[in-house]
Amino acid sequence: MSADALTTTAVLAGRGLRLSRRNLDAVITSLMLPVLLMLVFVYFFGGAIDTGDTRYVTYVVPGVLVLCAGFGAAGTAVSVSDDMRRGTVDRFRTLDIGGVPILAGHVAATVVRNALATALVLGVAFLIGFRPAATPGGWLAAIGLLLVYITTVSWLSAAAGLLARTPEAAGAVTFFMMFLPYPSSAFVPIDTMPDWLHGFAEHQPVTPLIESMRGLLLDRPVGDAPWIALAWCAALLAVAVAASGALFRFRTK
């Protein structure tokens, strides 16, 4: 990206953040929902879930953070779709702004929003007994992986926003991103799931991500899980960027 495109993306990200600040309902939902879900998991279900010698709250926090990324990304689809439906994208195009900075602006805004939600979830988690044993390097790596994942799902969500003709439909398309953490090791150990689900649960992108974040936060060996998670994200991001580029050209023909 050229310097111009970077400035443009930054300005558009600023616009996205300002727009979400004015939409308080959405902000509260996207901040409160992950926290509430964490409380539900820890206090309602946690007692019944055996996670060995790790406290359930400590076990579940990475899963809640990933879930939170899914919620945040869904907002990207809605705002992209909204821009397409109104005259905004036409105006941007007459200002000679291409599809990539427009989408990158929305994705960047989502990443910033999500960083806030992540901080809030971590804060509440500490209050209710989350005690990670991570080294500073482990923290950095875990947060870095999470940011890569957020960027990936946001960009997929941006593509969904281009695909859907209305913001409502865009919200529906992103449902699968919010669902993906459930059939993974995010909330319960995979070996407690039925056999037929193991294959999917063990080989879907969220599981290596969760396993690496959990390992890094508890300072346990993570093996090649972070690399598998990164490979998944790189592949999905490549698909998302290519698909959204093609969809943008198609929608603005």
């Binding site: 300005v11 439906r85 109104r86 195009r93 023909k253």
Partner: protein, 324 residues
């Protein structure tokens, strides 16, 4: 001076629907040009092609001296577009909208702030600068949208496109927008607007083109169009349906002006200059045996009649192309 806009043989189809069919237009620099036509006539497609948002299938178009396909960048630098759908963010304030757009057009932070103040002042929005756009009236919103299109140095924006700028506005807001357009034109900017309202074209435009089925049906100054197509209209009521058919057939090949048929009331309207000699001649030509016409009435035609006769020749009764 070269024309601000020039198109030759411009065509565009969506699937099997031919939206523009060899459209030729020429807009002189510094003038206000109105493209008039009913829904689906191809007005928006024309604007989108001229504003480089859509590529034509055939023909050529130059805007501000640059080809809209091969010199897209240069065209974009010289134009501003305010489309049918608002391009401003409802939950941001007027000033925030302008500042963001100014930054996106490449201005520095300080230059963007300065331009924002200038534009707010020029479009009389300074009092509302820090209010969210959702609290604006329809006219204020359109003015803000128009201002946002001009964030680049207004001096370098040479052609402004307005796609149905007053559709859905109340009369007062419409008046305010008209003033804004006149002011743009007074600054030497070429304005290309589309509208469904003849009155709007009549009030604002130096020249009008009436668009129908992707082609120019008529083109000229408002006065020329009135002279050429309006004047008076002779409404002839036939004695019975057979007589009505004979009348419309003779009108079709005889008078050179096929008129406005209305089978429901067996009435055919034909243009005339309103003189006794011409009315007599028309009656003789259309009803040589003096058996088919029961009554006639002479009307002073309005521009509505021009519009109706040009664009709704097939079914004038189906949709009242009302001009507010």
């Amino acid at each position: 001076m070269p024309p601000a806009i020039e198109t030759t043989g411009l065509s565009k189809s969506y699937g099997t629907v031919r939206v523009l069919d060899a459209l030729d237009l020429r807009v002189e620099t510094g003038t206000v040009f109105a493209l008039l036509g009913p829904n689906g006539a191809g007005k928006t497609t024309t604007v989108r092609i001229l504003a480089t948002l859509t590529a034509p299938d055939g023909g050529h178009a130059r805007v501000a001296g640059h080809d809209v396909v091969t010199e897209r960048r240069a065209v974009r630098r010289a134009i501003s577009l305010t489309g049918q759908y608002a391009a401003v963010d409802e939950t941001l304030t007027g000033a925030e909208n302008l500042r963001t757009t100014a930054r996106l057009s490449g201005l520095s932070r300080t230059a963007a702030a300065r331009r924002t103040d200038e534009l707010l002042d020029r479009f009389r929005l300074t009092d509302a600068r820090d209010r969210q756009v959702k609290t604006y009236s329809g006219g204020m919103r359109r003015r803000l949208d128009l201002a946002a299109g001009l964030v680049r140095d207004p001096g370098t924006t040479r052609v402004v496109f307005l796609d149905e700028p007053t559709t859905g506005l109340d009369p007062r807001s419409r008046q305010e927008l008209w003033d804004a357009v006149r002011e743009l034109s007074a600054h030497g900017t070429t304005v290309f607007l589309t509208t469904q309202y003849l009155e709007e074209a009549d009030r604002l435009a130096h020249r009008i083109a009436v668009l129908g089925d992707g082609r120019t049906l008529a083109e000229g100054t408002p006065a020329e169009l009135k002279d050429r197509y309006a004047g008076h209209r002779l409404d002839l009521t036939a004695r019975d349906p057979e007589a009505y058919l004979r009348l419309t057939a003779r009108a079709g090949d005889g008078t050179g002006a096929p008129g406005t048929p209305d089978p429901g009331t067996l009435t055919l309207g034909v243009p005339t200059d309103g003189t006794a000699a011409h009315v007599r001649a028309l009656l003789d030509a259309l009803d040589p045996h003096r058996a088919d016409i029961e009554r006639f009435a002479l009307h002073t035609a309005t521009l509505d009649d021009v519009f109706l006769s040009l664009t709704h020749r097939e079914s004038p009764a189906k949709e009242p192309a009302r001009v507010r």
